[in-house]
Symmetry: C2
Subunit: 277 residues, 2 copies
């Protein structure tokens, strides 16, 4: 008899709940998004849905109506009644017996959670420490997929070093991005960050950071830089949907200038806030 075992309980295979056959678990065969609301208003929903559609297309999850996803999100957001909400959702290719290649009839699985955003006011006011880690991720990080073990292990390494984020460094010795954020350096009057190549997630928060930089008169340079260069920057920060801009005050164990959130970073934070209203 074909069977499954969950913990120490045996179940006939035919009676197994389909969630246990999700290709999201077997292969990380799915894509996700994280969105947030500010004071009851979802921020940058169109951009996130656009990126989500791109991710779905890149891994050939088809026959899914992106407007249906939008309706799901809005319905759940209304039901949750949380003003400052973190909205996570993913779509996996579907559930079936484990086999790399999928069949024509597989139906995608949609899953979403809405939770209260964690308070990050202390991180915002005092800044965080970050540490570097080799970028072990796969070669298609432009796809926001569920294959995130490299990110998990990098952030675990950062945690052990007392840091809040891991900054990933590729084989050529250049910083790509954070384990769960985009990474920025300010040198004098310009703001530098990695260019959007095939192995960088096209961060939506990054887009708004660059817009904020323009509006406060910082020149934007999209060019790779090394940890040594980052260590000598005037200011550093990360950007991520759930927290927007967080100053970085320590890099690989060394203080960034006077180890306080920088003047331009604070200006960018303020300008970013204006976009969310």
């Amino acid at each position: 008899m074909e069977l499954a075992m969950i913990g120490d309980e045996i179940v006939p295979l035919g009676e197994l709940q389909s969630v246990y056959l999700d290709r999201g678990t077997y292969f990380g065969d799915g894509v996700y998004e994280v969105i947030r609301s500010y004071d009851g208003k979802i921020f940058a929903l169109d951009e996130h849905l656009k990126r989500f559609a791109d991710s779905l297309a890149a891994i050939e999850i088809t026959r899914l109506d992106i407007e249906q996803i939008r309706r799901h999100i809005c319905k759940a957001f209304e039901a949750a009644e949380i003003s400052n909400a973190k909205i996570y959702f993913h779509v996996t290719r579907g559930s079936s017996l484990r086999k790399h290649v999928w069949g024509p009839d597989i139906k995608p699985n949609f899953f979403l959670t809405i939770t209260e955003l964690e308070d990050c006011s202390q991180e915002k006011s005092q800044g965080i420490a970050v540490s570097t880690h080799p970028d072990w991720r796969w070669k298609r990080c432009d796809i926001k997929s569920l294959n995130l073990l490299a990110n998990v292990l990098a952030r675990r390494d950062a945690e052990k070093k007392g840091c809040a984020e891991a900054i990933l460094v590729n084989d050529q010795g250049y910083i790509t991005e954070g384990g769960g954020s985009a990474f920025f350096a300010i040198f004098g009057n310009y703001l530098q960050t990695s260019p959007l190549t095939v192995n960088i997630l096209p961060s939506i928060t990054r887009k708004y950071v660059l817009k904020a930089a323009n509006s406060i008169g910082l020149e934007v340079v999209e060019q790779l830089f090394t940890p040594a260069q980052a260590g000598s920057a005037d200011e550093l920060f990360i950007a991520v949907t759930t927290k927007d801009i967080i100053p970085v005050v320590s890099f690989d164990g060394k203080p960034v200038r006077d180890a306080k959130p920088g003047r331009n970073t604070k200006l960018l934070m303020k300008t970013f806030q204006d976009f969310t209203r």
Copy 2:
């Protein structure tokens, strides 16, 4: 109210089944093995458990008794009463609200299936076609993790080309291994395959193939080779737990010699079979 949505159904977050919070799905944060039995006897169980323990240690899933896993497998195998069985199992770090870094109290989830092995006699007698694909996988393929989207996409590409397996080629232009198998070439009197480096899965079937090569007098060369070199080989084959050795008779659309399983490959298949008795 914090909530989840499964398909179009809203569930209060507190009532969500823990399987929906499995880090295996969120991050591919888990490791797996595939074992098989030949005529009622599990093959190479110790080696698979050893590799599984190595994978668990590499991603810091601790507090798990490998002997308990062995007992689970044996109990399920006895209950299934399938002579030629495919035994799949994985352990994920556990279930919790999505956050890259895990808490100290998280408890690993064990999951296993036992199914009938698919018949591969035609593949064995006629051989298969394979095609190359860029190796998009992460940089720790020595860990048998659930981050397999690169493998899925490569095998999907192979399927579109009418091929049964994708042969992965790294940035330096060398073959690493198959999307779900080890890959071998025979040139005259020697058998060549990739060396076991940090980005190659230490295949257990590979180990038995090399043993078989020794016993039939083939010299073994563990050295990288290119698709062009593979295309000019006398014989090619893949090796994988569920099917052991499968001859490759077409490589990137071109026949391998006379497009029939080679003499040495057939000898290796026979010798391998002897190990399983």
